[in-house]
């Protein structure tokens, strides 16, 4: 069979602090492609990414990540850390008043209980203008079966609305 994207599920939410997408990773795929196609936030801050295992959203301190934030109007910023309880600031953020932007993730080895789960992403968004791009990598340093993921905020901020699509790479 030719290689292709295969649709798994779509999910939408509103007024949610941590948006969880459950049961989207399985033994059927090693690589997943996720597109965030529409989202608006209550506050201009970078969302975080966490993974979901059999116990729920995993907020243990085992996430490493690194990224570059590319700004259209000022010097770029590096973002990196180790042993955190989420991958912070690894995707772009939207203007608080408008639904804007596009984000894609690649997730690797999520369902493989003998492997760490890896992520890379690239974003194109705006934040009160001008544009910002984010390119990131990350890993959850736990060999466990990951079945889903969550995007969220600290500080009580919320997604006003969010829609994303999950595909398997066959």
């Amino acid at each position: 069979m030719a290689t292709n994207l295969q649709f798994i599920k779509s999910a939408s939410g509103s007024a949610v602090n941590e948006f969880s997408i459950t049961d989207c990773f399985s033994a059927n795929y090693d690589v997943y492609k996720i597109y965030v196609v529409d989202y608006k936030q209550s506050h201009t801050t970078f969302p975080y990414l966490r993974f979901i295992n059999s116990s729920g959203v995993d907020s243990s301190s085992n996430y490493d990540y690194a990224g570059l934030q590319l700004w259209a109007n000022t010097t770029f910023s590096q973002n990196k850390n180790t042993n955190q309880n989420a991958m912070y600031d690894v995707i772009g953020y939207s203007d608080a008043s408008e639904s804007q932007g596009g984000i894609n993730f690649d997730i690797f080895n999520a369902f493989d209980s003998s492997s760490y789960t890896f992520m890379k992403s690239q974003s194109a968004t705006n934040s009160y203008q001008p544009a910002v791009g984010v390119k990131s990598i990350g890993v959850q340093k736990v060999a466990q079966q990951v079945t889903g993921f969550a995007l969220g905020f600290g500080g009580g901020y919320t997604f006003t609305n969010i829609t994303l699509k999950v595909y398997g790479v066959k």
């Binding site: 994207l5 295969q6 649709f7 974003s123 194109a124 544009a131 791009g133």
Partner: protein, 202 residues
């Protein structure tokens, strides 16, 4: 194509996610072409253009009413000059210095550099080398949504130079219905560009 699909004396209506009956290979091909066959293959080729010695490549039919996310790949042979992206809004190309972009380049000699603008004539997709090959990909978001800005993120590699990646936006709400790959220096390019849609289902 018979519309009975194994049912005798009864026409059966087919729809995506709702296929009933017995199907021949030809039935499947035809239903797939009519988008009535349940097939979750989601990277759908819109058009491939192979060009020789042109300065611009326009995609005039991008199915922006079907796809929220577009994906394009390119390969330029012996490219000369810089390349960028311009959008058509309701059939009119935006040529003003209104595009915003930010990109990072990494050269093979170890040099890294930032490039950015909040008022540019397009979204740059490579750095413009002379007689070098260039390959890359780009995602487009929200082109067909007249209530949203149009965004892009990309990565490319240029022979004997290195890589570039970045993002850009046409920061005005409009319906984008065509895409131009432009040689900024009006030099000739030769190569191929493929445009895909990422199909969605709710």
């Amino acid at each position: 194509m018979s519309k009975e699909f194994g049912y005798i004396g009864k026409e059966v209506t087919q729809a995506f996610r709702d296929n009933k009956g017995i199907f021949t290979p030809q039935d499947i091909i035809e239903l797939d072409q009519e988008n009535k066959w349940t097939n979750f293959g989601q990277l759908e080729l819109i058009q491939t253009q192979t060009v020789s010695s042109v300065t611009d490549v326009d995609f005039n039919s991008i199915d922006e009413n079907i796809y929220n996310v577009h994906f394009a790949t390119w390969q330029f042979e012996k490219a000369v000059g810089r390349m960028d992206i311009r959008f058509y809004e309701n059939g009119v190309i935006e040529t003003g210095n209104v595009y915003q972009y930010a990109r990072q380049t990494g050269q093979l000699d170890g040099t890294f550099a930032e490039s950015r603008s909040t008022g540019f004539g397009g979204i740059p997709i490579d750095v413009g080398m002379t007689n070098k090959q260039s390959q890359g990909y780009i995602y487009f978001y929200n082109l067909g949504d007249s209530t949203k800005f149009s965004f892009a993120s990309l990565q490319s590699f240029i022979e004997d130079y290195g890589f570039t990646f970045g993002s850009g936006v046409l920061p005005q709400t409009s319906l984008v219905d065509k895409i131009r790959f432009r040689n900024v220096d009006t030099a000739n390019i030769t190569g191929s560009i493929s445009l895909y849609g990422i199909k969605e289902y709710s």
